[in-house]
Structures are given as C-alpha cells and as structure tokens.
C-alpha cells in the first residue's frame, strides 16, 4: 500500500509515518496542503491521511480542491475531538472516513485498509464462503463445515462483516459503526458481549478457532 500523509504537526507526522511503515506500507509525508495536493495529483496513492487543521489552508478546503481536480483517491480525515460536527463537513467535502484525535494506530490501519479497498469491493453477493464458514444472505443461514450455526440476526450481521473483511484486523469502534451504526462509545462492552456469543457458536464446538482476538486492537477472522 502506498499512503500519502498530509499533516503539519511534526510529532504526529513522525508517529503516523513510523506506524504505517511498520505495517509494511510506503509512506510520503507532506506538511502543507499545497504540497499534498500537488503530490496526490502527480502520484497514484492507495489512500490519503489528511489533517483537518493545516496552516494556510483548511483540510476541508484542501479536500474540496482535490475532489474538484478529479482526484478520487480515498481520503481519511483526522479531526480534533472538539469539533464533532466537523466530520459532517468533512464527509460532505468528499472524505471517505474520519478519525478523531487521539487515536490508536491499529484503528487507523484498519480504517485505511477498509477505505483503500472500497472501490474494488465486489458487488453485493447472496452467498459468501471463507474457509470453513459459509453464509447465505437471503436465507440468513450461516454454516461451518455444513453445520447450521443458529445465529441471531445481530450475530449474523457481525459474522457477515467479519467475513467481508477476512484477514483484516477489525476494531471495536469499526464494528460499532458498521454493524450497529453507533458513533458513540458505550460504557458497556457491547462488542465483546456479542462477540463472545458469536464465538461460542462459531468456534467453541469446533477444533480450530477462526476468529482471533488481536490484543489492544480488535478481532481478525481467518
């Protein structure tokens, strides 16, 4: 993966660069909006990490300029926590996702993976198979090695999402957003509760675990 980071703060820039490089990705760091716009229009990136507050030019304006120039590269905006309504503006300007500062590197990596592959995402299919798992979205039946798992509708949605992102680390926050549609962080560990129920049905009766916990990050299937 090839990522462009547009971030003026030196420390955050270094943290981002290091984190993404450790994940084995190519990183280019720009500290000014103009520089970033130039880079994104001349080189092909898989995704852009764009800070909301940049010296000289607002991140949202920079994004509008990019989109106006026909740049379709997926963009993840980083915004401060004080301005939750900023994200609406960011999404309207053409951002594919946003992340509130401060954030965990695992969260950023997971989100970048999701938006970077979004355009190539296969159209809705009725059936999906990952390893021993098989789901049918019409009959809403999930099986493992031919055995019906008897999932609740919510557990089915959870498994569906995990299978759609097989091999990727999926964080708690992403699950809350994508499966439940919640943008707030409940105190109760809803995700863990449902995840443990799902795993009790998907993994417990079988020898091998298909869903693994990634410590401090989230879950990965397959």
């Amino acid at each position: 993966m090839n990522i462009l980071i547009i971030e003026d703060d030196a420390e955050t820039g270094a943290y981002l660069t290091r984190g993404l490089q450790e994940a084995g990705w190519d990183v280019q760091l720009c500290t000014a909006a103009q520089e970033g716009i130039l880079a994104v229009s001349t080189r092909d990136f898989d995704a852009v990490v764009l800070d909301r507050m940049l010296p000289g030019m607002d991140g949202v304006d920079a994004l509008r300029l990019m989109r106006g120039a026909g740049v379709t590269t997926p963009v993840l905006m980083l915004t401060a926590r004080t301005a939750i309504h900023d994200r609406v503006e960011g999404l309207e300007a053409g951002a594919d996702d946003y992340l509130l500062k401060p954030f965990a590197m695992s969260e950023l990596l997971a989100r970048l993976k999701i938006i970077a592959r979004r355009p190539a995402r296969t159209p809705e299919v009725t059936e999906m198979t990952v390893g021993p798992l098989h789901i049918n979205r019409v009959t809403r039946v999930a099986t493992r090695e031919g055995t019906d798992l008897d999932l609740s509708p919510l557990e089915f949605r959870l498994l569906d999402f995990l299978m759609g992102h097989a091999g990727e680390v999926v964080t708690r926050t992403i699950l809350l957003e994508q499966v439940w549609g919640y943008r707030f962080d409940p105190k109760t560990s809803l995700v863990q509760t449902h995840m443990s129920r799902l795993r009790a049905k998907v993994d417990k009766p079988f020898d091998e675990e298909v869903i693994r916990t990634v410590r401090g990050a989230g879950y990965v299937l397959g």
Binding site: R81, T82, I84, H85, V88, P102, A104, S152, P153, L154, W180, G181, Y182, R183, F184, D185, P186, K187, T188, S189, L190, T193, H194, R197, R215, G216
Partner: protein
C-alpha cells in the same frame, strides 16, 4: 467590582425621585398660580369695565340734558324736586346700600350747586375716597368740565366683588405657597424615602453578593409592586447563579476526581512497563490496563464535549425524521445479552412504526445511557424493562428497574453534571450519563423525569408528537 468602587449611596434629598418630585411640585405651584391670577385679573377687568360703562353712559346722558335743556333740568332730573339739592351724609348710606350712582355739580369756584359735596374729582377718571364721616369705600369717579367752568362728577362705589376677588387671589397664593408646596414636598420626601429604601435594600443585596455572601436575597414587601418584581427577578437570578456556582464547584471536583484516577493508573502502568520490560507478557497486560484507563479518560472528555455541544443547540441542524421504534428495538437487541450476562431480566415492549423528528445518533446515545444506568445501578437479579408507547399526541419511553431505586435526597440532583449518588465514587460511571440524557431530551423539546412511586428507578421520557 469591589465595595469601594460602588457608587456611594446618595441620601434621600439627593435622590432622583425626590429631585423629580421637587421640580414637578414647583412647576405645579407656578402654573396653578399663573392660572389663578389670570382668572382673577379677568374677573376684575370685567367688573371695572361694567362700572366704567355705567358711569360713562350716565355722564353722556347728563351732558346731553345739560346742553339741550339747561342746568335746572339736569338737577331736577338727577335729584328730583322733592329733595334737597345738596345731599346729606345720611343719604349716602342709602346710595351705598342700593349701589346707586353718586354725583356732584360744582361751579367754577368749586362750590357745589347740587349733589354730594364730599365727592371730589379733579378731571377725568379717578378712584377717590369720599369726604364722609363714616364711609371709606372707594369711589370711581369721572369728572367733565361743562360750559362756564362748571364741573360735573359722576361716580359709583367700587364693586365689593372686585376687592373680594383680589383678596381671594392673594389668599389663594399664600395658601399655595405656605400649605400646598410644603405639603407636596413632605409627601415627595416620604415617597422618595420609601423608594430610596427599597432601592437601597436591593442595592445592598447586590453589594453583599458581590462581597461573597451568596446566600443574601433582596427583601420583598409582598405587595407585588414593581420593586417586588425587581427584587424577585434579582433573587431568581441569584438563585440560578448560586446553583450554577455550586454546580461548577461540583463539576470541578468531579472532573478532578474522574481524571485523576485513570491518569494515575496510566502513570502506574508506565512505571510497571519500565520495571517489567524483560517480560513481554506482563508488559502486554500493563499496556492493556493503560489503554483501558485512557479509554475511560476519553469517554469523560467525549461526554463533556458532547454535553457542551448538545447544550449549545449545535446539533439541531442534524434533525431529520427517523424510525424511533426500530432504533430502540436495535438498542434493546444490543443490550439484552449484557443484561443476561449480568443475571438480570430484561424485557422490552416496543410499539412499532413510531417516527421522531430529531438526531437519531443522539437519541440512541441517550437511550443507551439510560440502559447502562439500569444495567449498572439496579440490584442483583433485577428486572429491567423498556416500554415505548404512543397515545394522543405523546410518545412515551420508559426505562425502569425494580430496585433499589434512588434515595429521595438524591432525586433532585441526579441530572446534575458529575453528580454521583455514591459519594465514594467507587461505582462505575462518571456522573455525566444522565446529564447528557437530559440535555439530549431537552434539545428535542421533550422532558425526562423520574417516576414518583415504585421500588426501583423508572425514567420516563415524553416526546411531543
């Protein structure tokens, strides 16, 4: 503003009210006097004019008789032939009584030919006093010179109404100056003293509050007048200020406490990471714990920011109709396993097809907070239930448990920021959940309250529409 900076309290005499009353009393007296004197002068002028006209007519007639028919005819006409030609002093009394005219005709050597010798007129109009042993009433007289230097004077006693009017005007003036003016000043002084005292009361209150005595309130007379309204308004404001101040103090203590615990946890874990750096498993455990503490911190910040945002009404732009039934249904589905894991019974009765115009995300957050409140604060093996119903014009959401409920002493405060019924703050939570619920519900023009009776805590949210 310190006490020394306050404008010095002026005395009653210097007060605006008294100055106003002083000026308006003076103006009132002056205008009244002017009108009084104008009326009196008009009356006197009329009286004089009538008398002058009467004498004038008589003089003209007498002259006509004198020149056309001669002196004898004039005397005869004026006096009659059966009386003395020269009037006695006694006759004058009669004339005064009847308001009749006086007259005298003199020869050029001033000897009277006829009439009353005591009437002296030089020439033209004069006001004279009779030469009479008793009568002092002034007489208006007109004297004309006739042929051969004879002189005819005709006069009339000055109308007593003239004198009366004049003395009335003088009396009224004195009365105004000596009685009305001082009286109005005394009244004015009394009124301003009252006003001044009431204003002083209010001003003393503000000074006391400014000096830090937050509990001082402006006294009210109970007459429901404008001062009571002013004092009432001030007191309401002070109550609110006091409540907010207390709330801010509570918030500061709450923030300090809720931030201190996770921060010291993080610090402690960092120290442990340094110590256990050789043991990857221990380090991983410390990192997990530190991350959990950091998450707790972030939740406090998020809740505070969101609370601020909701209270400022910024979220109202995101209002749109959404399916409330589906939304709450999904939340119940999400939370049911959590209640089950906690060995609590959870039931939900959701009426279908209810839509609400609002911010779906915020409403979900609010309902989620109520569910978490029930999850954390209900007794062991409690029965928690959620009901969404619609009846004439209202949509009602009830989230309740069956114990232990909220102590009556805490009922009024549960929606305050950082308020925790558990003074030790050892139970989970940050005391912001219910404040956020209230702020969100109020943003939607709805209200949230705690049910009056029942063994447990039952929160009732009522939406209009």
């Amino acid at each position: 503003m310190s006490l020394a900076d306050r404008p010095r309290a002026t005395n009653t005499l210097g007060s605006t009210v008294f100055q106003h009353i002083l000026r308006s009393s003076a103006a009132f007296v002056l205008v009244s006097l002017a009108i009084l004197w104008a009326i009196c002068w008009a009356m006197i002028w009329r009286i004089d004019a009538a008398q002058v006209a009467r004498i004038e007519a008589e003089v003209e007639y007498a002259q006509e008789v004198y020149y056309s028919r001669g002196e004898e005819d004039l005397i005869e006409e004026a006096i009659g032939d059966d009386e003395d030609v020269i009037w006695s002093d006694d006759l004058i009394f009669e004339l005064l009584e009847n308001g009749d005219l006086l007259w005298v005709l003199r020869a050029d050597d001033y000897t009277p030919k006829a009439g009353f010798d005591g009437l002296h007129g030089e020439e033209g109009w004069e006001v004279v006093t009779l030469e009479h042993p008793e009568i002092t009433t002034p007489v208006r007289v007109n004297t004309v010179v006739l042929r051969g230097w004879d002189r005819l004077s005709i006069g009339a006693f000055v109308d007593p109404a003239r004198e009366n009017t004049l003395s009335f005007a003088i009396f009224a003036t004195l009365a105004m100056l000596l009685i009305v003016l001082p009286l109005s000043l005394i009244t004015g002084f009394a009124v301003s003293k009252r006003v001044f005292r009431r204003i002083e009361d209010i001003s003393d209150t503000t000074a006391a509050v400014a000096a830090g005595e937050m509990e001082v309130r402006a006294p009210q007379s109970g007459r429901h007048d404008e001062f009571d309204r002013l004092a009432g308004g001030l007191n309401t404001m002070l109550d609110e200020v006091e409540r907010l101040t207390a709330n801010i103090e509570g918030v500061s203590v709450g923030v300090a406490h809720d931030l201190r615990t996770p921060l010291s946890n993080i610090g402690g874990r960092l120290e442990l990471i340094r110590r256990d750096s050789a043991d990857p498993q221990a380090v991983a455990a410390h990192v997990d714990a530190a991350e959990a503490a950091q998450g707790q911190l972030m939740r406090v910040f998020d809740a505070l920011l969101r609370l601020g945002e909701v209270r400022a009404g910024k979220r109202r732009v995101a209002f749109a109709p959404f399916d409330l039934s589906a939304s709450i249904d999904q939340l119940c589905e999400a939370y049911a396993p959590a209640f089950e894991d906690a060995d609590k019974t959870f039931t939900a009765q959701i009426a279908g097809g209810i839509t609400l115009d609002g911010d779906r995300e915020l409403i979900e957050q609010a309902v989620s907070n109520l569910l978490e409140n029930a999850l954390e604060h209900s007794r062991d093996a409690a029965r928690v239930q959620v009901r969404l119903t619609r009846d004439a014009g209202h949509v009602t959401l009830v989230v309740g448990d069956d114990g232990p409920g909220i102590s009556p002493v805490h009922r009024d405060r549960i929606f305050e920021r950082f308020f925790r019924a558990d003074a030790s703050r050892s139970t989970p939570g940050n005391g912001l959940g219910l404040s956020l619920v209230q702020a969100i519900v109020q943003l939607h023009g709805a209200e949230v309250r705690l049910a009056e009776q029942g063994a447990g805590a039952e929160f009732i949210v009522v939406f209009q529409g």
